[in-house]
Symmetry: D2
Subunit: 151 residues, 4 copies
């Protein structure tokens, strides 16, 4: 989705959220299992949607389905660290959005991991793609990252 190989910085994200880690996040090797990062991505993005565009998990007529996801791991994290998730939108399509999330360990300025997932918005019943409502589009524009050259 992105070609960068260096860990992104906090300044490259548009919204932030603190997430507590859990004992069970650490695996046999004593650090955060690579799977947990994706659980944090889901949590941070949906939380933003609940707060800023009024997503109702139980009854919104339109829901987001994940069609692709990915993550790069730059450094270890794990329980009992406090993680800050940084959010931005990489692409706003007609009925899809690519969210990018950076995970920052405690006070670090540079991400321990960065990933993305692509949501396609569909009708809850028919599962047919739906064009993004204009209030969603307007809200999500605040998360659009500036072009690379502007960083």
């Amino acid at each position: 989705m992105t070609t960068e190989r260096r860990p992104p910085l906090r300044a490259e994200y548009r919204a932030f959220q603190e997430l507590t880690t859990r004992w069970a996040d650490n695996d046999s090797y004593g650090h955060m299992n690579n799977v947990v990062h994706y659980a944090l991505f889901d949590t941070a993005v949906n939380h933003w949607l609940i707060r800023h565009v009024g997503l109702d998990i139980h009854s919104s007529p339109v829901i987001g389905l994940v069609v692709e996801s990915g993550c790069r791991y730059f450094g270890e994290m794990g329980y009992p660290d406090l993680v800050t998730a940084g959010l931005r939108v990489a692409r706003l399509g007609n009925s899809s959005v690519v969210y990018e999330v950076g995970l920052f360990r405690n006070g670090d300025e540079s991400a321990s991991a960065s990933g993305f997932f692509t949501h396609v918005y569909v009708d809850r019943e028919s599962k047919r793609p739906q064009p993004l409502a204009s209030e969603w589009r307007n809200a999500l524009e605040a998360l659009l990252q500036p072009p690379e050259s502007a960083l």
Copy 2:
């Protein structure tokens, strides 16, 4: 729920199910996190209900809510073990059922852990308790354990 302190044996359960373990089940200490056992209890009991009484997770008008649960841990298990869950019903109430589950590591005859949970069956919408349908009651009777004295 039960006063026994010795690990139960396979012969003390009425139905069985094989469950694969996962890399993420092991915690920092290298063995199955005590939380995972409860995920296996849920999995084994609901699987039995889906198969034997036709529970439909997405649309059955009555759903089971867990109001109490517990587990005793007798020995270590963990990925990559294969676990067999043994099931029995300890109590069949009017609108509630106490399920007991033993978890057996690989070919062991004696349980590595044994636990229970109490389901109260409620209307999916109103969340009001519902008397167990007679087909459910009949099916669940096959899981009733014999009285202690009979073991």
Copy 3:
């Protein structure tokens, strides 16, 4: 472990910790899966031990093994709630401790769930029980709940 059937109150616990919920905590029925509560118990107690008695997950010579656990569920919680875990010690044994944890949904005064687990402290290598070090015992005494009559 305890005979109370009413939801405990915040005032009945001795230490508190805020825990964020995750998207994946909610199950098919749209609320916190009963398993997640145990993940929060582990998280809250070990966090307290790391902070107050210097537990080092990776290298402490003594580790806590869970030999029994249990939970009562009084009301629904779920993502995106913020949960506060209240801690207390119900019993301080020679080499074991019974921890009790109440989980409070957002600003609620009354617990949505309350549970316990029993840690037996063992040598990391031999897995033999070890008497609690006096610094641990002293620290843990601060979490002892007053006798029922004093509440």
Copy 4:
């Protein structure tokens, strides 16, 4: 990692493993949470390594760290489905391996999801990359997929 957009078929993988799903795998929308797929990738690959090259999670001097992962989701799966994981190796580097995993729902010939992760093999203590042992390399060659043109 791969440019294909169509769901891969069973015939495109070299080794297979059956994995049971769990009640908790399903999220609020009633299907397998996109995070769980990664837990199945880890499980299938490490299981193969344990069986075929003698990986010992607790004591092997060399361990695999995940530095990148990704997944494409083609269709719904979820509890109580039985999942078959198909494995193949996309790239065998000096000290890294790219594993690709397809997840097949029940008897499906076409994958519900396909993903990859890149393991870098490091010394357990120093975390320095280590060249792959020749027994590992030989074993892993059996998982190498034929060149695209041969499919």
